[in-house]
């Protein structure tokens, strides 16, 4: 298969990380399992709502990649901040944004996270440290570098996480930003964790067809940023990596990059129906490594999850999403006064 970049196959997942975890971590992992189930249900519902014409524009769903955002956001403190690209629904949900407000944003309602003015690609929840989803590939990375600098400039003990896709790895904005991050990091002024969500594709262009060097983690070295590649399907691996990396970045103020190998199960966007760039066999093989099923299996093996709990969680997810849809449906659209609101801040009192 010409697209493959040498990633772990079905059997070669990392050693059972659960064994070494404390009981609290296992309880918390069940909570994160629940979050991931909700996010998956949420995305399935957004695809249906798109087909029903309730959601317009672009819709990029996150199904298959849940362990990456969940693992990192599980380790972020409340005061920490993050940026991401346009595939941002799960990030918002994992950070505690109300599912109703996320769905309402996709429905273009004034009760949405961005008052219906951002849509799927621009979810924002600044009160929770979520500085937004951005639509220009790679162009949010410089913002995250500056934000990280600002945190250290203010002598705050906070870190910034920047999620990006494998497609962003070849944009000029990224390379300019990484160089500054590496440079500022030498002074301890860039507490930035870069999380490359390598789902193998940028729309239809696979990593091997876009990147001269496909070991993306290794490419950070030229900017004095350490990078490592991990299995992004395994929640425990992601979370343990996140804990270590975030602690290190917090302590040193130096950037660090993690390439999480993951996969998107759906098309690039809701309009990508035929996916001529990959085979059904490939997708099916990846689905066998579904991060939610993997986590479920681990938690069952550790004895903290059973059939009854799984059923209850699925039922809850169903309810949460149904409630989100109801909220979105019943919410009003933005009124005409919203059209011109928020273009400018209040003028400076000269």
């Amino acid at each position: 298969m010409p697209n493959r970049t040498g990633r772990p196959d079905d059997s070669a997942t990392s050693a059972l990380a659960t064994d070494r975890r404390s009981p609290e971590h296992l309880t918390s992992a069940v909570a994160w399992y629940r979050q991931m189930v909700i996010a998956r249900r949420f995305e399935e519902e957004t695809e249906r709502a798109f087909r029903r014409g309730k959601i317009g524009g672009y819709l990029h769903v996150y199904s298959g990649q849940e362990a990456v955002a969940a693992g990192f956001l599980a380790e972020l403190r409340e005061t920490d901040i993050f940026f991401t690209a346009y595939r941002d629904h799960a990030h918002a949900l994992f950070r505690g944004a109300s599912p109703g407000a996320v769905m309402a944003e996709l429905f273009g309602k004034v009760t949405g996270l961005a008052r219906g003015k951002g849509g799927s690609m621009h979810l924002f929840d600044v009160a929770r440290g979520f500085y937004g989803g951005y639509g220009i590939v790679g162009a949010h990375v410089p913002l995250a570098v500056g934000a990280a600098y600002a945190l250290r400039y203010r002598q705050e003990d906070r870190v910034c996480v920047c999620f990006l896709g494998d497609g962003a790895m070849n944009s000029g904005a990224l390379h300019e930003a990484l160089n500054m991050a590496g440079l500022w990091g030498k002074e301890g002024l860039c507490p930035l964790v870069l999380v490359v969500e390598n789902n193998e594709y940028a729309m239809g262009t696979s990593v091997v067809r876009s990147s001269a060097v496909t070991d993306l983690a290794a490419r950070f070295a030229q900017y004095a940023i350490p990078g490592e590649r991990i299995d992004g399907m395994d929640f425990f691996v992601v979370r343990q990596t996140a804990a270590r990396v975030i602690a290190d970045v917090r302590a040193t103020g130096r950037p660090y990059a993690v390439e999480a190998l993951t996969y998107r199960f759906a098309g690039h966007g809701a309009a990508d129906l035929f996916q001529p760039y990959r085979t059904k066999e490939e997708v099916d093989a990846q689905r066998r490594r579904d991060p939610i099923l993997l986590l479920e299996r681990r938690l069952r093996e550790a004895g903290v999850l059973d059939d009854a709990t799984v059923a209850r969680i699925q039922e809850e997810a169903e309810q949460v999403v149904a409630e989100a849809v109801r909220f979105a449906e019943e919410s009003p659209p933005p009124g005409p006064e919203e059209l011109t609101a928020h273009v400018y801040g209040a003028p400076a009192d000269a």
């Binding site: 901040i81 940026f83 949405g112 996270l113 961005a114 008052r115 219906g116 003015k117 951002g118 849509g119 621009h122 924002f124 929840d125 600044v126 009160a127 500085y131 937004g132 951005y134 639509g135 220009i136 162009a139 949010h140 990375v141 410089p142 913002l143 995250a144 570098v145 500056g146 934000a147 990280a148 600098y149 600002a150 945190l151 400039y153 203010r154 000029g172 904005a173 390379h175 300019e176 930003a177 160089n179 500054m180 440079l183 002024l189 609101a341 928020h342 273009v343 400018y344 801040g345 209040a346 003028p347 400076a348 009192d349 000269a350």
Partner: protein, 328 residues
């Protein structure tokens, strides 16, 4: 009222803001150790240290983007672009991020960012170093675009920029850095969107901004010798544009000449003329004239460069035409 150069007025406004407000910091290529290409930031590195006066790599997109990130976190970065020509490398950051993030976040964030540096024609710097970029940015909602013509403008507009909550495109002009003028002792902040009547007159309104104000004022002196009393408007700000002052002036003079250094098609003068037509069509006794740069990339040869930019004589001729003093 102290006399300051345009350069020192900008520098003084930066120092004042940095002394008052620890969130103000500067970024740009060679603004620190090198002291700034046009020396606007001279000695600031020694004064405020490398965390506040940041020498950046040649990465316009990167450092403008980083400054936007800083602004999102409540800092007040001032970016110096070595010249506005190079801002085009950061065009995406300015247009797609700085201008829009407040809106698409539903008002959750401010972007209190100032981007400043020299704009416009240089001295035989040819095509890639002599552009006027104002229209590129003035077209975009979410940005504020100002172009000081005098040291008092530079001081006052920068003070306002450093207090606002929006990204400001602050267009200086290399040929103006050494010009001198009075700068108010006190606050002197100038609100955006308010033009100045730089020279009152009765017969014709000449509208200009940035360096073209000086050319327009000289043209007005020459017109006075012919008995034509021109009113000269210093726009100061292109977005927002002060339509009221334009209309009030035309209500008095009934004739208007609009001057800009940049290319004519789709230029600032077109917008200004349209604003006059919309607000004062019935008051006009002649079509609005536009005096603009030639519609060519800036040539190198001195003779050609002089042909490419507007001069006093062009304004004088246009004023005569709107007054029907000479064949059209």
């Amino acid at each position: 009222m102290p006399e300051l150069t345009y350069r020192d007025a900008i520098r003084a406004a930066l120092i004042d803001a940095m002394e008052r407000d620890p969130t103000v910091l500067l970024l740009g290529e060679d603004i620190g150790l090198y002291q700034g290409t046009f020396r606007v930031t001279a000695d600031l590195l020694a004064r405020f240290g490398p965390r506040r006066v940041i020498d950046t790599p040649i990465s316009e997109e990167g450092f403008v983007g980083a400054a936007i990130g800083m602004a999102l976190l409540g800092l007040r970065p001032v970016v110096e672009v070595m010249t506005w020509n190079f801002s085009l490398l950061a065009f995406d950051q300015i247009v797609n991020n700085a201008a829009k993030v407040r809106y698409f976040s539903g008002g959750q964030v401010d972007v209190p960012l100032v981007i400043r540096g020299p704009n416009g024609a240089g001295v035989q710097l040819s095509a890639q170093h002599s552009q006027s970029v104002e229209v590129f940015y003035a077209h975009v909602p979410g940005l504020r675009v100002v172009a000081p013509a005098t040291p008092a403008d530079a001081w006052g507009l920068l003070r306002t920029a450093l207090r606002g909550r929006d990204p400001v495109i602050f267009l200086e002009n290399a040929a103006l850095y050494g010009t001198k003028g009075p700068v108010p002792d006190g606050d002197g902040a100038l609100p955006f969107g308010r033009a100045e009547v730089a020279r009152p007159g009765r017969d014709v309104t000449i509208v200009a901004y940035s360096r073209m104000l000086l050319v327009a004022l000289e043209a007005a002196r020459q017109l006075a010798d012919e008995g034509i009393d021109a009113e000269v408007i210093n726009l100061r700000s292109l977005r927002p544009l002060d339509g009221e002052t334009l209309v009030r002036s035309v209500a008095k003079t009934h004739r208007a000449v609009v001057v800009q250094e940049q290319w004519k098609p789709f230029g600032a003068a077109a917008e200004i003329a349209a604003t006059i037509y919309e607000g004062a069509f019935d008051l006009l006794d002649a079509p609005v004239e536009r005096v603009t740069g030639a519609d060519v990339p800036m040539p190198y040869a001195r003779e050609l460069e002089l042909l490419a930019i507007p001069h006093e004589a062009d304004i004088v001729a246009a004023a005569r035409r709107v007054l029907y003093r000479e064949g059209r």
